[in-house]
């Protein structure tokens, strides 16, 4: 199959059919910030930090570059006033959950996000789903899952599975952008131990 030619930030980029805009950008050394993306996992599109501006058939749209498929003659912009504003607000929303997250703080600096814009939320979790998806897709254990919907959505270790699998694996801990996941696990363990005793 012939290559697809597109433009990212004014630079001509060659990509293969089926690649996403993020893949194409990365393969030609153009940086797009991401949070919920992981190369071992299926594209997810949850955090929207990777939002870029695309121009196609005369229309400008804002899309998640980790999902958007490359197309012929697509014009992509990875930074603009609007994109920076989107990223700034998204980071501020996430900082309300995880104000100490190194990854978020670094992005906050780049986009001028304030860490105290919104009040501190009780849950540390930013629901990027990295742990949930890693456990399901790579480890195929499903020891951690999403529960509930909307703003009530959270992650939960499934005690029956987690008590057997997690302590010997712990592969998802370093994936967590908040670095609090381990604490959550220890807490769950504690609670399970408490219930069992």
């Amino acid at each position: 199959m012939s290559d697809i030619l597109l433009t990212i930030d004014g630079k001509e980029v060659r990509a293969k059919e089926g690649m996403t805009v993020l893949n194409a950008a990365q393969s030609s050394g153009i940086f797009i910030p991401t949070l919920c993306h992981h190369e071992k996992l299926e594209p997810y599109g949850g955090c929207r930090i990777c939002t870029v501006e695309v121009e196609s058939r005369g229309r400008t749209n804002y899309v998640a570059s980790c999902l958007y498929p490359v197309e012929k003659n697509l014009v992509v912009r990875t930074r603009s006033e609007k994109i920076d504003k989107i990223r700034k607000v998204l980071i501020e929303l996430l900082l309300a959950h995880a104000p100490d997250s190194p990854q978020l703080l670094e992005m906050a600096k780049e986009y001028g996000a304030k860490s105290v814009r919104f009040g501190k939320e009780p849950s540390f979790c930013v629901l990027c789903g990295l742990c949930v998806r890693y456990c399901a897709e790579v480890k195929k254990k499903n020891a951690i899952a999403f529960v509930d919907q909307g703003p009530k959505r959270e992650i939960n270790f499934i005690p029956e599975i987690a008590s057997k699998e997690c302590w010997n694996c712990k592969e998802c801990f370093p994936l967590c952008p908040t670095s609090y996941l381990q604490a959550a696990y220890v807490l769950t363990q504690g609670l399970v131990g408490f219930k069992n005793s």
């Binding site: 504003k85 929303l93 939320e121 909307g150 703003p151 959505r153």
Partner: protein, 552 residues
């Protein structure tokens, strides 16, 4: 019933049904719709009992029909052949109605509707102001039809548009007719149906699907249920015609899981259509094969969204997918899938039957045909109405809706529930039109119109919408999930008069980011009601900021 194999046979069957019907035989048509509460069992039984008691069995028919629309005055009945109309009928009235009106041919005065403005009596639907300004091309069939009887539908010309499409037109010609009529989707977006059909038709694939979206999740909207339950064959006929134009052999009906009577009518209609050969192989001897399967929705709002609905039909959880590839190209099981709303499908038979030129004569410049509207809120005549596009909101609210109760003043008119917007009373002369209204920030949505009087607080109203959305958002993406969380927090304190400096700006930013960066249309439109009320009622938000010292 033997299957019908040609247009001539269809016409003969229709004539036979009409001939067998004595036009002078009295018939009591009772609205058994779900626009209001339904459950007309007592009333129906009272009439049946009374007919027996007065020894009129076989001489008087009772017909349980779909919704007549005038729900504020329900139960409604129409007595044929004189078409006398009674409102707020109770089981105790059956005896008098039968002896005095059906037999005695006199009017029971106390059951006649009185126009509260003029004090005049209205004996026929055409004299009641609520009906007078409507053009009921679709809804008007309801009182004439028992939804469980395919004969009633055939008697008024049912399935003749299907015969015309299949036997006299090529699929491409059917498509062209719908495109020419500029039929626009009634499910919320107003997207041209013909263009979507064309995309699905041109998508290279062996198997394609057409789907009817009967989820109707918008709070306060009852139009789809009113036609689907009252006239299921109309939707089925539209769907088959669409399948033919697009090249799909399989149709799906996605309907509500919580309305067993609606489901029952759909099932009975499909069964009858199959027996008559309108569904199945070689329909009407045309060589076209088509079948329809019914799927029940999952009771969450987002399952009405196209990509979520299609996942639901595949048997998966209805989580939206980003629509970077259109579902008309890759939908159910990655196959071209054309989804339209119930009311959109309901328009198809008349476009084919009467032609695009006739259809183009109704409506406004860019919005053709009629639109069904559900009236609710602070309005005298709540119910389901049908008007041509281009009708002014003033006519809908005052002439048809009867105005605002309790002598209150109109404050705002809200369309599209939690994904729509509000217009202030000053814009009451705005015509009902997809483009005009979305420019003003109040997209028509599915057609739920909520009227607000002077006592309504816009801040509180929007807080309520956000509460609804918080329960309906799936929570997958940040701008929607976290945006709703923070906006709800801000509006909750504002509605207590405790807003903070910077809250309005934060709302604006959250709205903008939500509308640009959310994954699906739910998140993209959550901001619409707040946007529109910030545009027209900004002073109320400003007054809710504590530092400024005043509250609404």
């Amino acid at each position: 019933m033997a299957r019908i194999n040609s247009a001539a046979q269809l016409e003969k069957v229709r004539k036979d049904i009409v001939l067998k019907k004595d036009p002078n035989k009295p018939c009591i048509a009772i609205c058994g719709g779900i626009g209001c509460l339904g459950g007309r069992e007592d009333l129906i039984r009272a009439f049946e009992k009374e007919i027996k008691k007065q020894k009129l069995e076989g001489k008087v028919d009772v017909r349980v029909t779909g919704c007549h629309g005038f729900c504020a005055q329900g139960p409604n009945i129409v007595i044929y052949p004189e078409e006398i109309c009674y409102t707020k009928v109770k089981p105790e009235d059956a005896q008098q109605i039968i002896s005095e009106t059906v037999v005695g041919k006199t009017i029971v005065d106390r059951l006649v509707y009185i126009d509260p403005n003029t004090g005049e009596k209205a004996v026929h639907q055409s004299e009641i102001p609520f009906y007078k300004k409507q053009v009921r091309n679709i809804l008007g069939m309801n009182p004439k039809i028992d939804p469980k009887s395919i004969d009633d539908y055939l008697a008024i010309g049912g399935y003749s548009s299907l015969a015309k499409a299949l036997l006299e037109m090529k699929p491409q010609e059917v498509l062209e007719e719908v495109k020419k009529a500029n039929l626009r989707g009634r499910g919320g977006g107003g997207f041209p149906a013909g263009l979507k059909w064309e995309t699905a038709r041109n998508a290279p694939a062996e198997l394609k699907y057409v789907i009817c979206n009967g989820h109707e999740g918008e709070p306060g909207a009852y139009m789809d249920r009113a036609i689907f339950q009252g006239n299921p064959h109309l939707i089925i006929e539209g769907l088959i015609i669409g399948g033919y134009a697009i090249g799909a052999k399989q149709g799906f009906i996605y309907t509500r899981h919580d309305m067993p009577r609606l489901r029952e009518n759909i099932d009975i209609a499909l069964e009858a259509a199959r027996e008559h050969g309108f569904i199945g192989n070689d329909i009407l001897g045309s060589g076209f094969d088509f079948d329809i399967e019914v799927h029940l929705d999952v009771g969450i709002f987002v399952s009405g969204e196209a990509s979520a609905l299609m996942r639901s039909i595949e048997g998966k959880a209805p989580e939206p997918r980003p629509k970077y590839t259109r579902t008309a190209v890759k939908g159910i099981w990655e196959r071209p899938s054309n989804l339209n709303n119930v009311e959109t499908w309901a328009n198809v038979p008349q476009i084919i039957g009467k032609g695009a030129d006739w259809y183009l004569g109704i409506g406004s410049e860019g919005s053709k045909g009629t639109k069904m509207i559900s009236l609710s809120g602070n309005i005298v005549n709540s119910g389901v109405v049908e008007v041509p596009f281009g009708t002014s909101l003033k006519e809908i609210v005052y002439d048809i809706g009867g105005g605002i109760p309790n002598g209150k003043k109109l404050k705002a008119i809200h369309f599209g529930a939690a994904m729509g917007g509000s217009l202030p009373a000053e814009l009451i002369d705005t015509p009902l039109d997809f483009d005009v209204m979305s420019k003003l920030g109040a997209a028509i949505g599915a057609g739920g119109l909520f009227v607000m009087d002077e006592d309504t607080s816009m801040v509180e109203m929007n807080r309520f919408f956000l509460e609804f959305l918080a329960d309906e958002s799936c929570g997958k993406c940040v701008p929607c999930r976290e945006g709703i969380r923070q906006m709800l927090r801000i509006l909750t304190r504002m509605s207590m008069g405790k807003g903070k400096e910077g809250d309005i700006e934060a709302l604006e930013e959250l709205c903008e980011v939500g509308s640009l960066a959310s994954l699906c249309a739910l998140g993209k439109t959550t901001s619409s009601p707040i946007y529109s009320s910030l545009r027209y009622f900004r002073n109320e938000y400003e007054a809710s900021i504590e530092d400024k010292g005043c509250t609404v």
